[in-house]
Symmetry: C2
Subunit: 196 residues, 2 copies
């Protein structure tokens, strides 16, 4: 093992500390502050271990979890694109690919692909693990919103139609969780957390 | 699938949001604030994917990562026990076991063991994945300390002898990383980040 190889790996490990300073629109359930992207990656990864039985097709839960672990690392450069911001969505893929090139590029050459393939798989949304992981990535912000009385929805004037349209993709990963999302949204409207 | 089963799982998912408010002694590399335990779980889990090749014996990197994902969930009840606080260490295992009973106990009965076994395996430190995961759990705070000029070491008056004694366990998980730790500590002393 060369010294340089380990140094490159450590440099990557140090670099991703920055994800802890990328803020999302969601608030913690305690309401004390906005969530950051590192915490979000952690939370959704644990969800994969807990909710794997609800995937539409049987999944390797550990693989889905590890996909979620790395799914937002690109936000260190690309920032968190708010999911209802259609303008920012236009060049999101381009910004995130450039970020992946730089950040995963810190690793030793033969290792870049190995780790990045988890992110590519998540982005491609083709495997059952990726579809399930993407469902969880949508579900958690809904839970945060619902349990903070729609705080972030209200701040941005989001409607239930937008929420349902954006999160319909949950059904590709899990029929059970999509059913749950629809009930949650209907209940949020009824409670006044979300505009109709 | 019963409604109640999913509700129990969601309750667990909501409960662990609290880990984002458990503060550790380490500072982010940016120095802006102390790290929380959810971020720490995330960071060490990603490290498992990046550094797996340095494990003393070949490991299942995804499994080691998922062990690190959940390794500090008990701190929601038990708090983060500072690793150089010998007084708090006395009842740490007892406090953490009670916490595991309560928190994992939120899950459906048949699922408690399934998820908790990852934590038990980490705590038992018997498998090669657990030994490697434990090495990473020690390595990351050293990196945080070193790259913030020993900020947390200085605040608590820690010496290099304490650091080496506490982290000798790294060698059980990885010879390469233990060598790296020793060099890092020697360098920290030379630079004045750490008392001798």
């Amino acid at each position: 093992m060369s010294e340089e190889r380990l140094q490159q790996q450590i440099e990557f490990v140090l670099e991703i500390d920055k994800l802890k300073s990328v803020l999302r629109q969601s608030y913690l359930l305690s309401g004390e502050r906005r969530e950051n992207s590192a915490e979000h990656c952690w939370h959704t990864a644990v969800m994969a271990l807990v909710l794997a039985e609800h995937a539409r097709e049987p999944v390797d839960a550990l693989r889905a979890a590890c996909m979620l672990l790395v799914h937002d690392i690109v936000e260190i450069d690309a920032g968190d694109t708010y999911c209802y911001d259609t303008e920012a969505a236009a060049d999101k893929a381009e910004r995130e690919t450039a970020a992946a090139d730089r950040i995963y590029g810190l690793l030793p050459a033969d290792q870049v692909g190995e780790l990045r393939k988890l992110w590519d798989e998540f982005e491609d949304a083709a495997t059952r693990e990726a579809k399930f992981a993407r469902a969880l990535d949508r579900l958690m912000p809904l839970l945060h919103n619902y349990h903070t009385q729609g705080r972030s929805w209200k701040e941005h004037g989001i409607t239930s139609r937008q929420v349902l349209a954006h999160n319909a993709v949950v059904s590709e990963g899990s029929e059970v969780l999509w059913q749950f999302v629809q009930e949650l949204v209907a209940d949020a409207v009824e409670k006044g957390y979300l505009a109709e």
